[in-house]
Symmetry: C2
Subunit: 66 residues, 2 copies
Amino acid sequence: MKRFGASVRCQREKVGLSQEKLAELANVHRTYISGMERGLQNISLLTMIKLAKALSVELDKLLSDI
Amino acid sequence: MKRFGASVRCQREKVGLSQEKLAELANVHRTYISGMERGLQNISLLTMIKLAKALSVELDKLLSDI
C-alpha cells in the first residue's frame, strides 16, 4: 500500500495538484488522500479509478511497481 | 469492476486454475472469486495483490484496460 501511495503522490506532484484539489476532483475527503499517500488506506478499485481519472493517468501506470 | 473481473477470469483460465483453487491460493472465499469475476465486488488493493500473486501475474497487467 506504501508503494501505491508513493506512486499517487509522485503523479499528483507531477501534474501540480494539492492534496485538497485531488480530494475534490476524486470526490474523497482530504484526509483520505493524506492517509492513502502514507500507505495507511487499503484503497478500493472504484476509488483507484476515480484517483487515476483525477490524476489524468492510466490506472495500471499507478500500479506498475506494486 | 466488470472489466477487472473479466481480466482475472481470463488470467485464471490461462493458468488453468479453478475458482476454488484461486480462492485457496489467495486466501479468500470461493464465492468472493465468483462475485468478483462477475464485477460484483469492489475489491481492495491488498486483495488485488494476493490475487495477482496467486495468478503469477503483475498487478498492473490485470488492470491494463481498466
